[in-house]
């Protein structure tokens, strides 16, 4: 009846996961109880859960990403503390638990922290910067989000019901085959990634279509903001790379569920094919994460230097160059496979070549700052911190890309330090900069500067304190994923890293305080004009937060920096552009389709993990029923009357006109 699921699946004898799981469940139930009792459930359902508004979906993605970032950070704390204690001893985490912790850390950080944060910012910003009202397929967008949430939920269920994979975040066979991992851990990994991967793929389809087919009048490709360009590159990579992940996961699933022999040791299976396939997705994935971050840095550095982005066209070219070459370097993740010197040499060279595109970008950012009036607000601090830190990570990466060096450093903590160096500086710093930068646009008030700067300095310090020692330990030969070790030579480096993480804990606390303080002081931090940073792209042309339709009239674009042009004209003429004729606006209606789809996906995924076959059937039939029901709907859109549009637009214009009158000839911020 319940497949492999029994009471023994719950780890009664392990206090740590049980306690953590109980804590999460109590918190979750408490939040639900608070929402229901305070009467906010209808609001939550109407305005958020069923919302197809790209801005709301973006905020929900970002929130999911932050929560999962916290969860992954807890895993990191456990790993660092385990290694600090497990010198010539067993530490406090038994090996099978420790293995789950590092597998969950990697999986969560990449798929359920970094990806939702990136896609969340893309969701919020791209349609605003393109000057349009929503993405191409709003309901699909909501479905994508809820499928990602399904994956995150399944990973968290594994904490309490059953176990998570003990195989590392990419679950290499033959270790991940049924013979060596008979439990449900790998199945949790497979199905949570499969389901959220479908969501990500649909996001890619949605954004390619949005960016290529829906832009404000006059916005040619070479007038799009850099963030839109990088979002386009990332979406193209998603469309081209995620199907490979889907297929690879499907093959491993067939091996585990039906006894196929894709990657097994016997009957002709080829485990290295898995490694090749997974990295054929995995290396583009690196750029899927980092390219939009380069877009964020471009926006921030240009805005806070008060100058257009230096070398915009070369930046576009470098982005698309990286987009293509990212598919030609995958083998550098396993030079030790034994493909031979010629193959390794080719991939070593492509690895060096792809660094050129990033190098171009670094110089462009430096020259954007050169000659500008640089303001060191928090987003800019993150960006400058990134420039310094990322260059170090880039250089260690090029070092690892040299096959002979890689043979020494493969699977060592040097590698671990390298990819944390590029992902933390490249992605986490960018997301922090992006959240700081666009928060006022999303919520109508700025975040507290002082606490923001505290978060930045603590994070920067914490990053160096943790990962520079790991570079050292790696050079001394310490391999990754060690549950315990006996060599005294490594001890000081490991201890240093474990102490360094204290700064990151302080940064996390400061971040929570910043959000709390900013919320309490939201009236004094209010963004009245909708342009808190003296911005240059179209998102600053509308109010903070923007109305549901974003723009009363689609902006007419005449150059690379459309909002800067508008602003300059208004300030030079001391008046805003004349009021246009307002027309009614059609907007897509809310839909619970995404939520319902995710609900049944969660059930189907859980049933597949535990081999509850009848429930799988129920889930699939229900999915088809939802599809038919959704397709049957008659009314897809509602109309916002012209008077309402005019009223909201006049509300936007009034503070701007007042500001213009009070500050003749000045720019805001």
């Amino acid at each position: 009846m319940l497949g492999k699921l029994t009471w023994d699946a719950i780890p009664w004898d392990q206090p740590i996961p049980l306690g953590a799981g109980a804590g999460v469940i109590i918190l979750f139930l408490a939040i639900i109880a608070w929402v229901v009792l305070s009467g906010n459930l209808p609001y939550l359902w109407r305005e958020w859960i069923t919302s197809v508004d790209h801005k709301r979906i973006g905020v929900m993605y970002t929130l999911l990403g932050l929560v999962m970032l916290f969860r992954g950070f807890i895993d990191a704390l456990m790993m660092r503390s385990q290694q600090a204690l497990a010198f010539q001893g067993a530490g406090y985490l038994p090996p099978e638990h420790y293995n789950q912790v590092f597998s969950a850390h990697g999986t969560i950080m990449i798929f359920f922290a970094a990806m939702p944060l990136i896609i969340g910012l893309m969701n919020f910003v791209v349609p605003l910067q393109l000057g349009v009202r929503d993405v191409a397929f709003p309901t699909l967008n909501s479905t994508s989000f809820w499928l990602t949430a399904t994956g995150a939920l399944l990973v968290n269920i594994s904490l309490v019901v059953g176990e998570f994979a003990r195989t590392g975040w990419l679950a290499y066979p033959p270790l991940s085959e049924l013979q060596y991992s008979p439990g449900v851990g790998v199945d949790y990994w497979l199905w949570s990634l499969q389901i959220s991967g479908v969501g990500t793929l649909l996001t890619g389809v949605n954004f390619v279509t949005t960016i290529l087919k829906m832009r404000a009048p006059g916005m040619s490709y070479l007038r799009m903001s850099m963030f839109c360009w990088t979002a386009l590159a990332t979406s193209l990579l998603i469309v081209a790379a995620f199907p490979i992940l889907t297929a690879t996961l499907a093959m491993l699933t067939l091996d585990r569920y039906l006894g196929f022999h894709f990657f097994t040791n016997e009957a002709g299976g080829n485990m290295m094919m898995f490694v090749n396939l997974i990295w054929a997705w995995g290396h583009p994935e690196v750029y899927i994460l980092v390219l939009p971050c380069f877009g964020i840095y471009s926006e921030v550095i240009s805005t806070f230097s008060g100058k257009p982005l230096f070398g915009y066209r070369s930046m576009v070219l470098a982005t698309m160059f990286i987009c293509i070459v990212s598919f030609m370097t995958w083998l550098h993740h396993f030079f030790t496979m034994g493909a031979g010197p010629n193959v390794n040499a080719v991939f070593g060279i492509t690895t060096s070549i792809i660094a050129v595109g990033t190098g171009v970008k670094i110089y462009n950012w430096l020259f954007t700052m050169y000659g500008g009036r640089v303001r060191y607000d928090t987003p800019m601090l993150w960006s400058v911190g990134f420039l310094f830190t990322f260059v170090i990570g880039g250089m260690t990466g090029v070092l690892l890309g040299v096959p002979p060096a890689d043979f020494q450093l493969h699977n060592s903590l040097f590698l671990v330090a390298h990819f944390h160096n590029v992902i933390i500086a490249g992605v986490v710093f960018a997301v922090m900069a992006g959240i700081e930068y666009w928060f006022p646009k999303a919520f109508g008030f700025r975040l507290h500067e002082g606490w923001g700067k505290a978060v930045f300095w603590l994070s920067l310090l914490g990053f160096y304190a943790v990962f520079i020692p790991l570079y050292g330990a790696g050079l001394l030969g310490m391999t990754r994923r060690l549950q315990h070790y006996d060599l005294a030579l490594w001890r000081p480096w490991v201890l240093a890293a474990s102490i360094g993480i204290v700064f990151l804990v302080a940064a996390a606390i400061a971040q929570v305080i910043q959000l709390y303080v900013s919320f309490r002081r939201r009236e004094e931090l209010r963004d009245v004009l909708g342009d808190p940073w003296n911005g240059r792209s179209l998102e600053w042309a509308t109010t903070s937060p923007p109305p549901v339709f974003n723009f009363a009239v689609l902006p007419d674009v005449h150059g690379e920096e459309p909002y800067w042009e508008m602003k300059r004209h208004a300030i030079e003429r001391q008046e805003m552009a004349a009021e246009p004729q307002y027309r009614p606006i059609e907007m897509p209606r809310n839909s619970p389709t995404g939520f319902i789809t995710a609900f049944f996906s969660t059930i189907t995924g859980f049933a597949l993990i535990w081999h509850i076959w009848w429930l799988v059937g129920v889930g699939l039939v229900a999915a088809y029923a939802v599809f038919v029901w959704f397709a049957w709907r008659d009314i897809e859109e509602y109309v916002i009357p012209a008077e309402e549009v005019a009223r909201l637009e006049r509300e936007r214009r009034r503070p701007r006109a007042e500001w213009l009158a009070q500050h003749p000839g000045e720019y805001p911020a």
Partner: protein
């Protein structure tokens, strides 16, 4: 304009060096930028069709991963049967004929839809569905026959990859049939509304792409497999 000139030096809008901005650095007006005059968001029909094409491209990449696995594993028969032992040219020819004909009838249904003929649209959609079902029946018979001979996917890596790549196509055809039934009901009840026309367009694209995949399967899996 004097007021403007008064604060011109303060204007932080331009890079004083105008470096890296192509021809705009030469003082040409911004209106000369390439692509000026793009007219805003495309029509819904274009957006839907285009988006669906992008999805189909991703689906083709999904298949390419399975094809790659087949290319790696097709010699890994582990002493078991090979393609030459197993593949039945007659059956594959019939399957191919069914699928290609169904693409033709699918195209005819699009012509009928263009003429807004409820009857002929339904007739050709039914024909498409029947041909698709016939294809699936023959494929199922092939698969059952192979399993009965002991050539199940568990036998060897070659058979694993064969069943996966061909079966993945079969699952797509099955899904297509479910979609087809839904579309027929929608056309029947709701008529040729713009959103239904867009969905028919997507369905047509989907069905033709399944044909393209089949041609690749026919060539790479069956023709080359039978030659060995």
């Amino acid at each position: 304009m004097t007021a403007v000139d008064a604060f011109t030096p303060l204007r932080p809008d331009t890079d004083p060096y105008r470096l890296g901005h192509g021809h705009e650095a030469a003082g040409l007006h911004a209106h000369d930028a390439s692509g000026h005059g793009e007219g805003g968001p495309a029509s819904k029909r274009v957006i839907v069709g285009y988006g669906f094409w992008i999805f189909l491209l991703s689906d083709i990449i999904l298949f390419s991963a399975f094809f790659a696995a087949y290319a790696v594993l097709w010699t890994a028969t582990d002493g078991g049967p090979t393609g030459r032992d197993l593949f039945d040219p007659t059956s594959v020819a019939v399957e191919t004929a069914c699928l290609l004909l169904s693409s033709f009838t699918c195209g005819m249904s699009a012509v009928a839809t263009g003429a807004r003929s409820q009857l002929w649209t339904q007739v050709f959609l039914v024909a498409t569905g029947l041909l698709g079902a016939a294809f699936l029946a023959f494929e199922a018979k092939d698969f059952a026959g192979m399993v009965a001979q002991g050539a199940a996917p568990q036998r060897s890596a070659f058979l694993s990859s064969f069943f996966a790549v061909v079966g993945c196509h079969g699952i797509h055809v099955t899904t297509g049939l479910l979609w087809l039934g839904t579309m027929m009901a929608q056309v029947w009840v709701k008529g040729f509304r713009p959103n239904i026309l867009r969905r028919l367009l997507c369905f047509n694209l989907f069905w033709h792409v399944l044909d393209i995949i089949w041609i690749a399967l026919f060539t790479i899996v069956y023709l080359i497999g039978m030659g060995r």
